[in-house]
Symmetry: C2
Subunit: 113 residues, 2 copies
Amino acid sequence: MKNSQLYKGSLNTIIMKLLEENGKMYGYEITQKVKAITQGELNITEGALYPALHKLEAEGLLDVEIEKVDNRMRKYYKLTESGQKETVNRLSELEDFIRNMQSLVSPSPKLEF
Amino acid sequence: MKNSQLYKGSLNTIIMKLLEENGKMYGYEITQKVKAITQGELNITEGALYPALHKLEAEGLLDVEIEKVDNRMRKYYKLTESGQKETVNRLSELEDFIRNMQSLVSPSPKLEF
DNA sequence: CTGTTATGTATAAGAATCTTATGTATATTT
DNA sequence: AAATATACATAAGATTCTTATACATAACAG
């Protein structure tokens, strides 16, 4: 991903959320979309992305469909039914995570007397 | 930590933030504090915590001070000067991370016509 | 009084995720 | 003609965490 270790563990959730929103996407498209949404702050590397997609597919959360565009291969991924249910869970976990992290770092204001 | 992979990579930031707020803390105290703040949702395991503390110390971000209380050892950790500076960076990275994740998953509302 | 829970630290094996590097191939831009 | 963009893939190694184990004292429960 980027410089920060914080993104570790969040890639699956990002992929699934984007697929939920966009129906179907291919790998390279995902990297570009993420870059655009985060204004270049988050760059997903292929070495992280493709193994993640393969794993989600192996787990039955994604379906794949190969197309050829301009003589180049594209593997379009979309959520399975099981994947759609799991996406709801992952997003819920992400909300909890963000809430917990904010509780931990939000400046519980030090009262001064 | 807990069930979710999302927390992976965030432990160092949590530790440093708590030390910034509380001056000095010992390991077990950190686990209890995190549990309390997150209402039991996030449980830091010793297998993750102690190696993390040792590494932060080795990197010169933490200082350690041993005390004996009730015949039991406590290792109090506090931020070094370098650690204080680095904490600012880490918290800034965390803010960026949370902002980026919210951009990615916030329901860019689908307009219907 | 004896076993369990709480307090307190530590490490080692293995799992999961990611970085970095490399490889292949075509299309487009310079 | 060379560099960049598009498009997928994998392998070695780094990092971070889980799970299990280990040691030791204090407090509580049966």
